[in-house]
Symmetry: C2
Subunit: 146 residues, 2 copies
């Protein structure tokens, strides 16, 4: 008997995605928007077309669509806040396998704030960069994952 580790959320199907009305409307409405809505904002919008849809369905579909790269999830899934004794500007890298978070010892890119100011109309105060990747430890354990 072989034990298989299922990667990803419990609600993401192993087989074929289906094209339900709910999923279609969620995608359509999200595509229409310039903004980056939260799940419940999108729920309110979608509800105008599908009054009986549930918030759970919206969450489930956003998760699935994100896994299949149809949409993008901005503030990376369910992570707790983390705190850092350093207050100087520095960057972080997160391991997608184990969630480990490390500092990245690079000098801050101090020119990019000005670039952002020029194209956004914002007064830019600072920025943060989070790299995502696979840490050394997880890379050496790669045989565990299919």
């Amino acid at each position: 008997m072989k034990i298989v580790t299922i990667i990803g959320s419990h609600n993401v199907p192993l087989g074929q995605l289906r094209n339900t009305k709910q999923r279609k409307v969620i995608l359509e409405e999200l595509a229409k928007l310039e903004s980056h809505p939260t799940a419940s904002e999108l729920y309110e919008i979608v509800r105008k077309r599908l009054p009986r849809i549930s918030l759970g369905t919206v969450y489930r579909n956003l998760e699935i669509l994100s896994q299949f790269r149809k949409i993008n999830t901005l503030h990376p899934a369910g992570f707790e806040k983390r705190f850092d004794g350093r207050t100087d500007l520095h960057y972080h890298v997160r391991c997608v396998r184990c969630g480990r978070l490390d500092d990245v010892p690079l000098e801050p890119f101090d020119t990019i704030d000005e670039a952002a100011r020029n194209v956004t109309g914002y007064e830019i105060l600072s920025h943060s960069i989070e790299f995502v990747g696979v840490c050394a430890r997880c890379r050496s354990h790669k045989e565990k994952e299919p």
Copy 2:
């Protein structure tokens, strides 16, 4: 009569910060750590020195210390996930006043992943950048804030 808008969390004092044992220990332990603990991880650590401290106190102090720039909060306070119909790499800017989130129409900095790889030992897959600043609308309303 003048209406004053209180900025920031309900638990952040308007007056002078005090130097309590709990606050000191939280700061000390956080400073010792190379890692970026969550509130409850830090709670467990601090509890070894102050067994009667509560998790609420840890949260309150982290919030206050963060406001006063004594520490840094990594995954910026309580924001919900946001979803984006675009799946290509692009950056975002958040207004610290109103929470508004916009796209930043800059070309992706494709060289920085390699720089990060060189200094971290991670296999770097991607990165995200979030600028923080004040949006045009909020800048024109600045008279409302002290």
